[in-house]
């Protein structure tokens, strides 16, 4: 039970910190807020990571990764947050598609797809959810029909983040080998294929971040299948398991968030002119959030220690998201509550610092829904871990 850095971890942290300190100023700051403008900014950053050997930290070396373990990835993410590195735009590529291809893909797939994820050349999206298949993913109806040398795909996907930027998608479609989970196949789809139409959807802050994707007789060749035909459910579940580990290694650094809030509070005064940090309600709230961020950090370390020792993901991996989502919401909400009118201004009428928290407050609601909403997660935890009977 030791959460301080081992010598190799401390060395790695030092190297990363030094590199970030020297490299971040080379970017054309400020980071654009608009997704379209953000992509080239991010791409420049990702190329710098790749050239410096910081892309794909946990991926195997033969596919351009660094072959390091989850501890190093956690340290790297932590240092990036502390240094204010750009937002990661290709989480689907790096955390979902890449590890899945590395684990289940053919040699040809690995050779074709993995490196461009790490260099930043190709962004990925995930075509899983459909208008009538959200929580009940296995009911999906997008159909892949066998054709000469490949498959023809017909259907509609929705809530697809960054589809407008994506070069490729991981896609689930029904190939008909059986009911529900049994008849699903996992495909890799080039987004520039004929018959793919991307229509942006504005989220509740008014920005087009996710999309509807229409698939009209889209042809993919036989070598686009990952795993077995009709065996895609197993691959999809592995993708989601990779996601959970990625969330644990620091999708949002709650420790950094509460430290930022504390630094801000030290500069503020209450309406009566006394220091805001003297307000008993503020003190209780900050202490509570600090404590919960500490709990979150230890949960993450436990997941990382489990991942590192190749144990099967235990209960703690599944509960990570249930602990983490409400915490991020409350951190952002509390910080916004310090702004005039609780920071409830349109994005273009808000200063950058408040904008950051407003985005986080809203993104965290999205995170609680994406990849299995809170209620579905609770069902899963109750049935699979506690063994409670299915409804």
């Amino acid at each position: 039970m030791d959460l301080s850095d081992d010598p190799d971890e401390a060395q790695f942290r030092h190297d990363v910190r030094t590199w970030l300190h020297n490299s971040l100023p080379k970017l054309p700051w400020p980071e654009p807020a608009d997704l379209g403008a953000k992509a080239p900014f991010w791409r420049q950053w990702q190329r710098m990571l790749f050239d410096a050997g910081y892309a794909g930290l946990t991926w195997p070396k033969e596919y351009g990764g660094q072959g390091l373990d989850e501890r190093m990835r956690a340290i790297f993410t932590e240092e990036c947050d502390h240094a204010g590195a750009p937002e990661r735009l290709n989480t689907i590529g790096e955390d979902f598609a890449g590890p899945t291809i590395a684990h289940f893909g053919t040699e040809a797939q690995k050779a074709r797809y993995l490196r461009p994820i790490l260099t930043g050349e190709e962004i990925w999206c995930q075509l899983f959810s459909e208008p009538d298949s959200g929580s009940d993913l296995a009911s999906l109806r997008t159909k892949a029909t066998k054709a000469d040398g490949g498959w023809r795909i017909q259907g509609q996907k929705i809530w697809t983040s960054r589809a407008q930027l994506a070069a490729h998608a991981i896609l689930l479609a029904r190939t008909g080998g059986g009911e529900r989970h049994k008849g699903i196949t996992y495909f890799l789809l080039p987004m520039d294929s004929d018959g793919v139409t991307v229509r942006p959807l504005a989220h509740m802050l008014g920005e087009a971040e996710f999309n509807e994707v229409f698939l009209d007789e889209v042809f993919v060749s036989d070598d686009a299948v990952v795993g077995e035909v009709d065996g895609g459910w197993k691959v999809a579940m592995a993708t989601l398991a990779f996601e959970r580990v990625a969330i644990a290694t620091g999708r949002v650094n709650t420790t950094k968030a509460i430290e930022d809030i504390i630094a801000d509070i030290r500069t503020r005064k209450s309406a009566d002119g006394s220091p805001l940090g003297a307000d008993p309600h503020v003190r209780q709230k900050v202490a509570d959030l600090w404590g919960r961020a500490l709990v979150h950090r230890t949960i993450s370390q436990r997941v990382i220690s489990g991942a590192e020792s190749d144990e099967l993901p235990g209960p703690v991996t599944s509960i990570g998201k249930l602990y983490f989502c409400p915490l991020v919401e409350e951190l952002a909400d509390f910080r916004l509550s310090l702004e005039p009118l609780g920071g409830q201004f349109a994005l273009d009428d808000e200063r950058a610092e408040a904008q950051r928290w407003l985005r986080l407050a809203n993104q965290s609601r999205g995170t609680a829904i994406a990849g299995g909403s809170t209620f579905i997660q609770r069902n899963i935890v109750a049935e699979r871990i506690l063994g409670m009977p299915r409804s």
């Binding site: 959460l3 301080s4 030290r266 003190r283 230890t298 209960p315 509960i319």
Partner: protein
């Protein structure tokens, strides 16, 4: 960095859990609690060699540290076993460093207890007064194990603790009134000292009380973790057996979600309790804040979990006959014991220097 119990720690937890299952099954525990006499359990606990686990060999223990003590606390709570004597002693015994005979006696059943109110954080508790002849006078209400202690470690000094002094509970001038707690697996007593002779303990009083505070926070949180594990086990088991509307109630989503929320609390608590124990042992710069966060978070979640488990049980959980109330009351007391969440959160706020 590695979040992992050592092989020895895992083996200890397993062995001690097995011992408790054998020695302290629920029906026997209830007999001890009903009789208000835990001595049969306590003497067996000592005779079988558990009392020195988690205390350094230098002090006279069997080695290990706060992680081992936290494992002990968690397992005792899981069994609803009497633990006032054990907890009071592990918190006070470091004050006896340099007195090997007294340590030996404490670990052999002569309970030693800090003379502070059980709801106070030990290093902020009021101190008693001592005169030039070493006679101690004053009162501490609700002292943990105050009814059964053989000796008291008494913080004394005007305007804050200056030193710790040792008092024999049987000495003339000591009067104590046992108070009955709802949770009968722990006990307290109001203790008044009037001109009681004492011996000065040659330790750094501030350091010992700081250590006792951090340990109390972690160990009571570990106790709450153990109690919450059991209310969850009981609720899940019951939800599979109890049928309504033709189905086991555990198939209803409202019940599943309540149980899942308790599981989140349990796994969160497990993650942070052992971390904080190691942090205090290792003397990490933020060790007291880690302990504070654990006490505030885990014991508050424990109470919520106990409440929710009661709702899952329905009326049967509200009865004296069912075991649920043993753990419900244990969680309730843990929330208040050695500082409520609001007190420990204020301690965090102090440490974070918000002003």
């Amino acid at each position: 960095m590695q979040w992992k119990l050592s092989e020895e720690q895992e083996a200890y937890q397993k062995t001690f859990r097995g011992w408790l299952a054998d020695v302290a099954p629920s029906d026997r525990v209830r007999r001890w609690l009903d009789a208000g006499d835990a001595s049969a359990f306590e003497s067996r606990f000592i005779a079988d060699g558990w009392a020195g686990v988690g205390l350094t060999e230098k002090l006279g223990g069997q080695g290990g540290g706060l992680v081992e003590l936290a494992l002990t606390a968690e397992e005792l709570a899981r069994a609803a076993a009497p633990s006032a004597s054990w907890l009071a002693t592990v918190l006070a015994v470091t004050a006896l460093a340099g007195h090997p005979k007294l340590v030996e006696a404490a670990l052999a059943g002569e309970t030693v207890s800090l003379l502070v109110p059980a709801e106070a954080v030990p290093d902020r508790a009021p101190s008693l007064s001592v005169d030039a002849e070493g006679m101690v006078t004053g009162t501490a209400a609700r002292v943990l194990a105050g009814d059964i202690a053989t000796r008291f470690v008494v913080p004394v000094g005007a305007g804050g603790v200056r030193e710790l002094r040792l008092v024999e509970a049987a000495a003339p001038g000591v009067s104590r009134t046992a108070r009955r707690l709802l949770d009968r697996s722990r006990s307290v007593a109001d203790v008044t000292l009037h001109q009681v002779p004492s011996v000065r303990l040659d330790v750094d009083a501030v350091d010992v009380l700081w250590q006792a505070s951090a340990m109390a926070a972690v160990l009571v949180a570990a106790d709450s973790l153990g109690a919450t594990e059991r209310v969850l086990d009981l609720a899940v088991e019951y939800s599979k057996q109890r049928h309504q509307f033709g189905f086991p109630i555990g198939s209803f989503q409202a019940v599943k979600h309540a149980a899942a929320a308790i599981l989140v609390s349990v796994e969160a608590a497990r993650s942070v309790v052992y971390f904080a124990a190691a942090s205090v042992d290792g003397g990490a710069p933020q060790a007291l804040l880690h302990a504070a966060a654990v006490k505030a978070q885990v014991t508050a979640d424990g109470v919520r979990g106990a409440d929710s488990a009661l709702t899952i049980h329905g009326a049967i959980g509200y009865t004296w006959e069912h075991d649920l109330h043993l753990f419900f009351k244990r969680a309730k007391l843990d929330e208040r014991l050695f500082g409520a969440p609001v007190v420990w959160n204020e301690r965090i706020a102090e440490g974070l220097a918000l002003i």
